[in-house]
């Protein structure tokens, strides 16, 4: 199946039991991810622990930062491979739990003091269930737009990639960079 077709089909939740009564995430295509980052006033990229074991996601994050200038909050130890590649994350020590708590607060000024973020993009989480809970918190208790570009479909994000096999996943990440 081509990547385009995959983005059009109904997708499975990473855990079929993670069911909500309210609306699930809309599938987002790579090009639209790039456009949304470009259009957002205060976008932020939040990276997870998978970067410790997946050099290709590290590559993607480095290139996305270079191309779009999107600032990065690293969690799960993902700062280490990024710093080794010359990236200066805005935050390194706060876990995804902390960062979500901060994002939920409309009065938070962000790590640079310029105000809370209007778009949070998540990539590289080894634990979809953990990210799922954080996206659920943001869905119900904040106005922050959320996009998950992890390999599993995340129902509580506002927008999410569908479930993708390994090859398709990296292709989709590359397509974000091509825009």
């Amino acid at each position: 199946m081509s990547l385009d077709k995959v983005f059009e089909k109904v997708t499975r939740i990473f855990n079929p039991a993670d069911v909500q009564a309210s609306k699930c995430a809309s599938i987002i295509k790579p090009k639209v991810v790039a456009t949304m980052i470009k259009k957002a006033k205060r976008p932020i990229l939040i990276t997870g622990g998978k970067l410790l074991e997946d050099e290709r996601i590290v590559d993607f994050v480095v290139k996305l930062h270079e191309k779009t200038g999107i600032e990065i909050l690293t969690t799960g130890g993902s700062s280490k491979p990024l710093i080794e590649r010359g990236i200066k994350p805005l935050a390194t020590v706060f876990t995804l739990h902390y960062i979500t708590q901060y994002l939920l607060d409309p009065n938070w000024k962000g790590f640079d003091g310029k105000g809370n973020y209007d778009l949070a993009v998540f990539v590289g989480f080894t634990t979809p269930y953990y990210l799922s809970r954080m996206l659920s918190a943001l869905k119900h208790f904040s106005k922050v737009n959320t996009i998950s570009i992890c390999e599993y479909y995340q129902p509580h994000a506002k927008f999410s990639f569908p479930n993708l096999n390994e090859d398709m996943y990296y292709e989709a990440l590359n397509m974000i960079l091509e825009v």
Partner: protein, 796 residues
């Protein structure tokens, strides 16, 4: 007048009888504090202090409520349901319910033990934990306000706990609280009660069954799947209540069979059995239950209560293993045969006529379990573990690669990839990579359209590494000795022992079990105190170095820098909270009796202890952690614990929330955000390590203590995160707080990046910190504590 229990009939007053029930002979060992036997609202003011700083965070699992017939109500985006409750408050209510389930489990366990022991030994059986443990029950003293002297004294403590649990349960009915903060206060109340109930359970069993009493050199116990001996009759005991397992051990000894029959355990029953009899063995945690049963090694399975799979009877029946259920909490649909002739029961179990029986009297379990194990073993002959090689190959061939197993796996393990690889290449090695992370829950098998025995395939393919899973745990030693507290109290409060790390809880780890050992050894090498219990204590016994030594063999069992202390089973967690309480009592001479808020405030501001529940899954773990939180002890939890729905996370940037009263200067003053969370998830071991070091920092650290804590925090951040931590400067009060080797470098960063003023000639900080360092700094958040020690009234 010498009072005794009984009846008095007054001659001059017709039809009047006075009944004297319990005689309370409570000597005045300490003046009673402000909150003995606190009810729901009595410590609400303390909870409000915590909740103001550590704002509850909610991550809903569902956005609907279906607890009453007005519903189900769709509550997304914090909408209100038909009863008026919004999503956030509904989640807080569910957290209270989870804590109630957990605390009730420990309380019912404690009640069963105390009831049994009073029947056996009488209510006057003394509570004597040895000459080195004078503060025998710190949680009971602190909350309930008595010094229990006998097992009979524990009944009144349980009466109180049970009453409070019911009162809190009442508040979860439809149409009660409308503030999530009030539900959080109730959750904290339940957590506190849980530690009291756990303490009752553990000190009762320690004194009655002569477990180790704070012995740092408690025996080493054989641990791991590999300790199961397939050549002997094996009785597998599962659960959390020692009573039936104890009877089995006694029966073996009475009949000279202790070297003939093996007793091996899963979960906390395993730990407590080895506290009673060090010859017993620990197979492992809940995640080893299906491994052990499906292996076919056990000859009989005896279940008691809590954390036992709900398909135990079905699974055992498939393997031809009879089950003896022993608890009212998990009767497993079995016929109650407690009062039948044991010979008939044994014949029915051995012949397969009965798949299992319910035996309510623990004192009748030993004979049945042992005789059944001996008979079954004789008849069974030799069997392949899990399945034959042919069956293994045939199972793999059924796989279509649909990946349903992956989506139903709690860890999304790529079982499909391992299956396809084995199917195409005949190479089963990818299953070996999966095995250490597999919790053997069996959800994959439930979703497989081809009915593949996936757990068996994983385990059979990994048989050599399963058999190699052996190690040594130290038997649970129970309480921390007063003399140990006397030695380490000062260095802990000053900060020169950088912290106490407490790995506790269940085995629902995000990745391989070995990661827990890696996290803990990092802190042992750095001479933190590590004190563990329950499933984490067992898994640490299986973590070995290249020479095959487990952590318990490498590090001493003392409560001191670089020591690894196993206190025991779940209920022994009360000794960890108890140790923190005892530091306040012994080192700081703070009165305990009915004085909860003062002691919790003391711990929050001074004692750098942090829990690590890397695989917490149960309601008991939720309740235990919440109890630690009320006592001012934070916990780092694994990523699965986000599913508990609630965390307590402060915001370092909200300066107005970080303040204390300083008893010395008599001022309300700003303070560094330490600790800045009471419950927070980490995703990876790297992240957990850094968070643990970070959350050990406390406002009352001396400059030397802060220097040591910051050194570890910064080193660990550099090692695992690749840089200085973002917030290190928040914890600097004086140049003396800075790590010596990095002082110049850090002063430069403070000047350049944070705008602090530095006197470079003297290398001193002139301006910048949240507050100046004062060696006599004496912080408190509690008004009445401030008033007590200053004699000044605070205008509220």
């Amino acid at each position: 007048m010498d009072l005794r229990e009984g009846f008095i009939v007054l001659d001059d007053m017709r039809n009047v009888t006075i009944r004297i029930g319990k005689i309370v002979e409570e000597d005045e060992w300490e003046p009673m504090g402000p909150t003995p036997r606190p009810h729901i609202l009595d410590l609400r003011y303390w909870d409000q202090k915590l909740l103001e700083r550590y704002e509850p965070f909610y991550a809903p699992m569902q956005d609907f409520c279906n607890l009453c017939t007005m519903g189900p109500c769709e509550l997304s985006h914090n909408k209100e349901g038909a009863c008026g409750l919004d999503l956030k408050t509904q989640k807080a209510r569910l957290v209270v319910l989870a804590c109630l389930i957990g605390a009730s489990s420990h309380t019912a366990h404690a009640r069963h033990l105390v009831h049994y022991l009073i029947e056996k030994f009488g209510p006057d059986y003394p509570i004597d934990l040895g000459s080195n443990v004078n503060i025998e029950a710190p949680n009971i003293r602190l909350v309930f306000g008595i010094r229990p002297k006998t097992i009979g004294d524990l009944e009144q403590v349980l009466d109180y706990v049970e009453q409070e649990l019911v009162r809190v349960l009442h508040t979860t009915h439809t149409g009660q609280e409308e503030s999530y903060l009030d539900y959080e206060s109730k959750a904290l109340h339940v957590g506190m009660l849980d530690h009291v109930a756990m303490e009752v359970a553990d000190i009762a069993q320690i004194v009655a069954f002569n477990y180790p009493k704070g012995d740092p050199d408690a025996p080493l116990i054989e641990t791991g799947f590999g300790v199961l001996d397939p050549n002997k009759p094996v009785i597998l005991v599962i659960g959390h209540n020692i009573l039936p397992a104890r009877n089995i051990v006694d029966y073996l000894e009475e009949h000279g069979l202790e070297d003939v029959v093996e007793v091996a355990g899963l979960c906390c029953t395993a730990i407590d059995t080895t506290r009673y009899d060090p010859k017993a063995k620990i197979v492992g945690t809940l995640s080893f239950e299906l491994r052990a049963i499906r292996s076919g090694i056990p000859d009989v399975v005896v279940t008691d209560e809590q954390c036992i799979r709900a398909d135990t009877l079905r699974e055992c029946s498939k393997m031809g293993i009879p089950v003896v259920a022993t608890s009212e909490a998990s009767a497993r649909g079995l016929l109650d045969r407690t009062h039948e002739n044991p010979d008939v029961i044994i014949e029915d179990l051995v012949s397969g006529k009965a798949k299992g029986v319910l035996i309510k009297d623990p004192d009748k379990v030993g004979e049945i379990a042992v005789r059944v194990a001996l008979e079954i073993r004789k008849r069974r002959g030799k069997k392949e573990l899990f399945m034959s090689e042919e069956e293994l190959k045939a199972e793999v061939q059924k796989c279509t690669g649909c990946a349903r197993c992956v989506f139903s796996c709690p860890h999304n393990l790529r079982i499909d990839v391992a299956m396809q690889h084995a199917k195409k290449n005949g190479d089963f090695s990818k299953f070996k990579e999966i095995e250490p992370s597999c919790i053997a829950c069996g959800r994959c098998e439930q979703s497989c359209p081809k009915g593949i025995r996936i757990v068996d395939v994983i385990m059979k393919s990994s048989l050599d590494q399963l058999k190699a899973k052996t190690g040594k745990s130290r038997a649970g030693r129970g309480p921390i000795q007063d003399v140990e507290i006397r030695k380490v109290g000062q260095p802990i409060v000053m900060g020169t022992i950088p912290g106490v790390i407490a790995p506790i809880g269940c085995p629902n780890y995000p990745r391989a079990r070995e990661e827990l050992g890696q996290i803990i050894e990092e802190f042992l090498k750095r001479r933190y105190i590590v004190v563990t219990s329950g499933c984490h204590a067992m898994d640490l016994g299986m973590y070995k170095d290249e020479e095959g030594r487990s952590l318990y063999e490498k590090y001493p069992g003392v409560f001191d820098a670089g020591g690894l202390v196993n206190v025991g089973s779940c209920v022994a967690n009360s000794h960890i909270s108890g140790a923190a309480i005892k530091i306040a009592a012994i080192f700081a001479q703070r009165p305990l009796r009915g004085n909860y808020a003062e002691i919790a405030d003391y711990i929050l501001n001074r004692i750098g202890a942090v829990g690590l529940a890397w695989g917490a899954y149960s309601q008991k773990a939720a309740s235990i952690a919440t109890g630690f939180n009320r006592l001012g002890i934070p916990a780092v939890v694994g990523p699965h614990s986000a599913k508990y729905r609630r965390a307590y996370i402060g915001k370092f940037w909200k300066k107005e929330k970080w303040w204390v009263y300083d008893i010395k200067s008599r001022k309300k003053m700003p303070v560094e955000p330490a600790p800045d969370a009471l419950l927070v998830c980490a995703e990876t071991k790297e992240e957990a390590i850094v968070q643990l070091a970070r959350l050990c920092i406390r406002p009352a650290d001396t400059y030397l203590g802060r220097q040591i804590k910051l050194t570890h925090y910064i080193e660990l951040s550099q090692k695992y995160l690749g840089c200085l931590p973002d917030d290190w400067h928040l914890y600097v009060r004086t140049e003396a707080d800075l790590p010596v080797k990095m002082r110049d470098q850090l002063l430069k960063i403070l000047e350049d990046e944070h705008g602090w003023k530095i006197d470079w000639k003297n290398k001193k900080i002139l301006e910048g910190p949240i507050r100046p360092y004062d060696a006599g700094f004496n912080p408190t958040l509690v008004e009445h504590v401030y008033e007590k020690y200053t004699g000044e009234k605070i205008v509220r």
